[in-house]
């Protein structure tokens, strides 16, 4: 684990305002997820990876972009960990890492291609000031 990863973790925890250590890996989030089959890694795993600082993996996770922010996992999470916030925060982190912190409305059309769900753009746009 390196300091950069710890910084990433701190940043994500700040954005989510939730504690991944409270997760007891019951799997209810993953059980609730309508996009389960599209994902390579699932909500409880994303939470776990943040907790374990596995940012090398998170850097490559594609499942993030399939999360539709339906918030079912957050609604049902018995520990109030709210995995959807982690999904969102990790996405945010990924977008920021690509550089171009400032997303302008004019840039949005060119960002939309078939591989990127619209949700990702919307989410990034919504949260980027955080």
């Amino acid at each position: 684990m390196n300091d950069t990863y710890l910084e990433y973790q701190a940043e994500i925890l700040r954005m989510t305002d939730r504690d991944p250590k409270r997760c007891m890996i019951c799997g209810k989030c993953t059980a609730s997820c309508p996009a389960f089959s599209e994902m390579d890694f699932h909500p409880h795993q994303i939470v776990g990876m943040v907790e374990r600082c596995e940012f090398d993996v998170l850097e490559t996770v594609e499942g993030l972009w399939h999360c539709m922010s339906c918030m079912a996992c957050s609604e049902r999470c018995p520990r109030d960990v709210q995995p959807a916030r982690f999904m969102d925060a990790v996405r945010q982190w990924r977008i920021r890492k690509q550089g171009g912190e400032h997303l302008h409305p004019q840039q949005v059309p060119e960002k939309i291609d078939e591989a990127t769900p619209q949700q990702a753009i919307a989410a990034a746009f919504r949260k980027y000031r955080k």
Binding site: M24, K28, A31, S32, R76, R79
Partner: protein, 663 residues
């Protein structure tokens, strides 16, 4: 002249690692009045106590200060030590340098300084301590058990067997509680009724046991040894002394659409009913919410068919007041309401049931006569999904409970096993987070369900259940396989968390017994006094103290009984000597203190006083009954002249502590 001894405990490294105990002893040794200050690894050990005892004798100590763990931990221990050395046990003060110092501070210098200040405060207080002698009050040799489930029944039987009278107050029309609703019991699979009903009968027939069913505690006064309890005996509209329990009325009653509470509303019964076949007392009662006669004044069928004339539509609630030496709370538990778990479709589909409902569906005396049929269409379910931890270990506000309900893993294994045994063609899935089986023969039992009965245990939770075309579509997660299984089930069983019976909250207030944040009764000490409440004379039995299975409940019931027997076998109990005491010279007789006393311990008397001009005059002054006073101190502040003081926590003592701390 004071001769105070100061003893600083290391508590191994618990204190010594953070507090420089030698420096504390050295510094406190220089305080005025201190003639001895020393430290020792374990003050509470035999050799530590011997050291204190010897020091008191050799140094002729007039007061003892022990800097150690919380007085809530060892004050009683050290009081005995001090008493053994011939010193009044109340000439002891404890400075809490463990829980409130070494364990909460990290900086050694800061913690040491604080320990010194706490020690000084204790020295300042002990300097003003007066020898106190505890008074005595008589013990009424009768116990009250509140709740007639297995916990209450067992407690009552054990107390009664020791020769003391016991009253059981049960709010329902019969004793038996939740256990009477269970089918089989884990891990032996013997039938609950077979082992419970004989106990119910024993209780009913025991000459020392008096069952007050369909009754509730309304008020509690008094204190340990002599509680005065008001019991409301609710009108059952049936004369308990005449009813033979023949059951004729329950067959003839024309009001048939009454949801049967014993079967959790899964079937119906009549407005007049005997709760179940083995009910104790086996006496009918009328539910006034459904009885046509009571509601409209027209009907009277039961009265006509009753051969002994036991029906009495004019019966009223009555209040009885009785005295007890001890009270046992055995109010039990109930499953939580699942209305906030919309994702599990409970209430949307009748085929989503709780585990307790499943017990009734599998019970021979249940609505289906023991054949497992699903409620919606009375067919055999072929695929059954069990969901664990519904509301347990849930920290969301308002939905569930943060604790583990403890019994679900085992009863689910039981259910799964029984279903697979009786209906081998049924597939049973169990979604779980952990399987917790720390009990004798428990894990073996669970493994049998998996290995011998082929129950499918899936590590993961259910996300949602959707009723569709007569099936229940269950979407869960299998965390080990990395799958999201979707099962079309016929029946879903939810292991609902259990919570204390709601009557416990108001009872706790009546008993002035404390409760934790989940409304379970708090024990006097979580490890060392698990069956006593902090309120003297109030004991805890069964699930009202925390989730428990039957063997544990019975064990705790016996333990509570033993404590009650210990109390009732004494003729007198020693009172808390730290009671309010009025200075009659200063008392104005204004009645302020009396008005705030929660125990009615204060009365007034006209007494003759010598006046300054050498005449005598009658003055109204307060008197405190030390056996009734519990020492809260409300009166001491209500008193404007400071005439009322509290022994052991006197105005001067507390101000001396304040002075020492702010020094």
């Amino acid at each position: 002249m004071q001769r105070i001894g100061v003893f600083v405990c290391h508590c191994g490294t618990n204190i010594a690692a953070t507090v420089d105990v030698a420096q504390v002893a050295e510094t406190l040794g220089k305080e005025p009045g201190v003639v001895l200050a020393t430290d020792y690894p374990y003050m509470c050990s035999q050799s530590g106590q011997d050291m204190i005892e010897n020091a008191i004798r050799e140094q002729k100590l007039t007061g003892v200060v022990i800097c150690s763990c919380s007085p809530r931990m060892h004050e009683a221990t050290f009081r005995k030590t001090v008493a053994r050395a011939g010193l009044n046990p109340y000439l002891l003060e404890i400075a809490n340098v463990r829980e409130q110092c070494s364990w909460v501070h990290k900086d050694r210098e800061e913690a040491t300084q604080k320990a010194i200040i706490l020690g000084r405060a204790a020295i300042a207080k002990v300097t003003l301590n007066a020898p106190l002698v505890a008074g005595e009050s008589p013990v009424v040799k009768r116990a009250l058990v509140i709740g007639g489930g297995i916990a209450g029944i067992q407690t009552a039987l054990d107390i009664a067997d020791a020769g003391f009278e016991v009253d059981i107050v049960e709010k329902e029309a019969t004793i038996g509680g939740k256990m009477a609703q269970l089918d089989k019991t884990f891990p032996t699979l013997d039938c609950a009724a077979c082992i419970l009903t004989p106990k119910m009968v024993d209780a009913a027939q025991h000459e020392k046991i008096n069952i007050l069913s369909y009754s509730e505690v309304e008020a509690v006064g008094g204190f340990v040894g002599s509680f005065r309890v008001k019991i409301r005996r609710k009108a059952r509209y049936v004369d308990e002394t005449k009813c033979t329990g023949c059951g004729l009325c329950t067959e003839k009653c024309p009001q048939k659409a009454v949801p049967n509470p014993f079967n959790l509303g899964l079937d119906t019964r009549r407005a007049i009913a005997i709760p179940f076949a083995q009910a104790v007392p086996k006496v009918a009662y009328i539910d006034p919410n459904y009885c046509t006669m009571l509601k409209t004044g027209k009907c009277g069928v039961c009265s006509k068919v009753c051969t002994v004339g036991a029906i009495d539509y004019k019966q009223q609630d009555t209040l009885e007041e009785r005295e007890y030496g001890a009270i046992v709370a055995a109010t039990g538990y109930r499953p939580i309401s699942l209305e906030k778990y919309g994702e599990y479709a409970y209430g949307q589909s009748p085929d989503v049931v709780t585990s307790l409902e499943l017990e009734r569906l599998m019970n021979a005396a249940g609505p289906t006569g023991g054949t497992l049929l699903r409620p919606s269409d009375r067919t055999h379910p072929k695929t059954i999904v069990f969901v664990q931890c519904v509301g347990s270990r849930c920290e969301e506000d308002g939905r569930g409970k943060p604790y583990c309900s403890k019994i679900c893993c085992m009863y689910t294994a039981k259910h799964a096993m029984l279903i697979r045994e009786k209906y081998p063609d049924t597939e049973v899935y169990v979604f779980y987070i952990d399987v917790r089986t720390p009990g004798k023969n428990f894990d073996e039992f669970y493994r049998r369900a998996v290995e011998e009965y082929g129950v499918h245990y899936i590590t993961g939770q259910v996300g949602k259940i959707v009723p569709e075309n007569g099936k229940l579509l269950v979407q869960g997660s299998d965390l080990l396989a990395g799958m999201q299984p979707k099962i079309a089930a016929d029946l879903v069983v939810l292991a609902a968390a259990i919570e204390p019976d709601p009557s416990a909250r108001s009872l706790a207030t009546l008993l002035t017994a404390s409760m934790d944040t989940n409304d379970f009764f708090t024990e006097a000490h979580p490890k060392l006094r698990p069956v006593e409440s902090p309120t003297a004379g109030v004991f805890l039995s069964g699930a009202c103290q925390g989730p428990k299975d039957i063997p544990e409940t019975v064990a705790q019931a016996g333990a509570a009984a033993a404590k009650v027997i210990g109390l009732l076998s004494r003729d007198h109990i020693v009172c808390n000597p730290c009671v309010a005491t009025p200075n009659e010279q200063m008392c104005n007789g204004c009645s302020s203190c009396e008005k705030v006393c929660p125990y009615g311990a204060i009365t007034y008397a006209d007494k003759e006083f010598r006046m300054p001009d050498r005449t005598t005059a009658l003055r109204r002054v307060a008197q405190v009954n030390p056996a009734v006073c519990q020492g809260c101190g409300a009166c001491t502040v209500a008193c404007p002249s400071g005439a009322m003081d509290l022994l052991g926590f006197s105005n001067k003592q507390i101000m001396a502590e304040v002075d020492a701390i702010c020094r």
